[in-house]
């Protein structure tokens, strides 16, 4: 447990010291929120949730990319892949919850005719999905720039694609629009159920995928045989 907590603590320290990135991450969802605040509050709420997802995915991408050089030597220093992955993910999830809290309060104060419980659910699922999503990208692409462009593509598609189309369901944050429709437009519970299912499946699948990719990247090679 100490190993996991130490990795989590150092991950938080690293992220907090990237001041410029931190400011952008904090302000990005606000910009999304304000973009439609005047004419369409419901759309603002949908966008702020997407903004949170993008911000946290970016933080996870940067954190995962920065750890590429360090993690192999930590593996040799007594850490298991599980320690490294669980510590990093725990730190990112914590950061995501802290990041979401002021935006939830903002919506709580600013929008009184929405289902606040459902908004909280969107934010929880967004945090659960965004962190492993960013970590998956950090393993699959060699540099932060490519990863950031991929994230931009995903969030752009998420905003532009018709959410009723089946292709939109392949996007990781599709659930946020479904649940937001329930929360803002007070539609039937089908939106909530579909969104909850999609978000849960995405969170689980991405968490498992990120762990699998980390295990492959940091695996012990069979040619190295410990002799006791």
């Amino acid at each position: 447990m100490i190993k996991v907590l130490t990795v989590a603590e150092m991950t938080v320290r690293e992220i907090l010291r990237r001041r410029a990135v931190l400011v952008i991450i904090l302000m990005l969802p606000l910009a999304f929120y304000l973009s439609r605040r005047g004419d369409h509050l419901g759309q603002s709420i949908r966008f702020v949730c997407l903004g949170l997802g993008w911000a946290l995915s970016t933080a996870a991408l940067f954190s995962g990319s920065a750890a590429r050089g360090l993690e192999p030597r930590l593996r040799l220093s007594g850490y298991g892949t599980g320690h490294l992955y669980a510590g990093r993910l725990a730190a990112l999830w914590t950061l995501g919850l802290v990041l979401s809290a002021p935006y939830f309060l903002l919506i709580r104060v600013d929008a009184d005719r929405v289902e606040h419980g459902a908004i909280a659910l969107i934010m929880l699922l967004t945090v659960a999905v965004a962190a492993p999503f960013g970590l998956v990208l950090s393993v699959l692409v060699p540099r932060e720039l490519e990863g950031t462009l991929l994230l931009l593509t995903v969030v752009g598609l998420q905003m532009m694609m018709d959410p009723a189309g089946s292709a939109a369901r392949l996007l990781p944050f599709w659930f946020s629009r479904e649940i937001a429709t329930y929360a803002v437009d007070h539609t039937d519970g089908g939106y909530l159920a579909r969104g909850l299912t999609h978000g849960t499946v995405c969170a689980l699948a991405l968490t498992v995928l990120a762990m699998t990719l980390a295990s492959i990247r940091l695996r012990r090679r069979p040619h190295l045989r410990p002799v006791t």
Partner: protein, 279 residues
């Protein structure tokens, strides 16, 4: 170079030359008094600190420290690489390389650029797979990469705490051990900034300290002295000999062929000349 930096450098050079610490303090104090009274610049008054320290050492009869003889016979085999073959695309980088290193031995891996020195070390560390061959390892491993291996946004003490936790050390003990290793390399990491602000040589010292934390049995060091000044380079070899005397197994990648008398085994990976020679 200001007076304080010059005096500090002089102190380090005297220590490296094996001058008695009390005498070294006396020499530094005398120099400080002279510089204060004369108001001269230290380089103008005494010349470079290493040259002045050499003159002092000669005058008091202290020999310059060279590679000490090993204090005890080598122990059991700790690292054994057999028949390592590695190809990058169609080019064969390593062709049936063998390396055996025992406890209390230093092995140097030498060869031209691109001949596979770092690749061999990464294979020995299990960070890269060979196309053929195997590595047998007895004990724990510490690895110092040629570059990278640190976190830009963490300070040195946090690096020590991070590696120490992996080795099962308490945070305070890890930081103390890290600072002690750093002191042996003439570096004080207390209060040092984030790794991204360290100079290249200091960052390599951090890398080296991290490799040695937790007393691993086998140390794999990939040109760890890059960016070191002369004094740090001398400190580095002294640290290696101290580790060897403590029974560690050390493999160091180097291209400085004039230092090969300091090691016990030399593996030359120059193509068509791959040989393992014992001192």
């Amino acid at each position: 170079m200001n007076t304080d930096a010059w005096l500090h450098a002089l102190d380090g050079e005297l220590r490296r030359r094996g001058i008695d610490p009390a005498l070294a303090r006396h020499v530094v104090a005398e120099a400080a008094v002279h510089l204060r009274d004369s108001r001269q610049a230290p380089l103008a008054a005494f010349g470079p600190p290493d040259a002045y320290a050499a003159a002092v050492a000669e005058s008091v009869g202290s020999p310059v420290r060279s590679a000490p003889h090993r204090r005890s016979a080598p122990g059991p085999v700790r690292l054994e690489a057999r028949g390592i073959v590695k190809r990058h695309r169609r080019r064969t980088v390593l062709s049936g390389v063998d390396l055996t290193v025992r406890a209390g031995e230093i092995a140097a891996v030498v060869g031209a650029n691109g001949c596979g020195k770092s690749t061999l070390l990464r294979i020995c560390a299990g960070l890269e797979s060979p196309d053929r061959g195997e590595v047998r390892l007895r004990g724990t491993l510490g690895f110092c990469p040629q570059d990278g291996g640190t976190s830009d946004f963490l300070v040195p003490d946090e690096h020590f705490a991070l590696v120490g936790a992996g080795r099962g050390m308490r945070r305070g003990a890890a930081v103390r051990a890290g600072r002690a290793y750093a002191a042996a390399l003439d570096w004080d990491p207390a209060g040092a900034g984030q790794a991204r602000f360290l100079s290249g040589g200091t960052r390599q010292k951090l890398n080296l300290v991290m490799a040695g934390l937790g007393d691993p049995d086998v140390l794999l060091l990939d040109e760890p002295y890059q960016g070191f000044d002369r004094g740090s380079y001398v400190d580095f070899w002294r640290q290696l000999w101290a580790w060897r005397d403590a029974g560690k197994t050390i493999v160091v990648v180097t291209h400085l062929l004039d230092q090969l008398d300091r090691v016990d085994t030399v593996l030359d990976l120059t193509p068509a000349r791959t040989t393992e020679a014992r001192a």
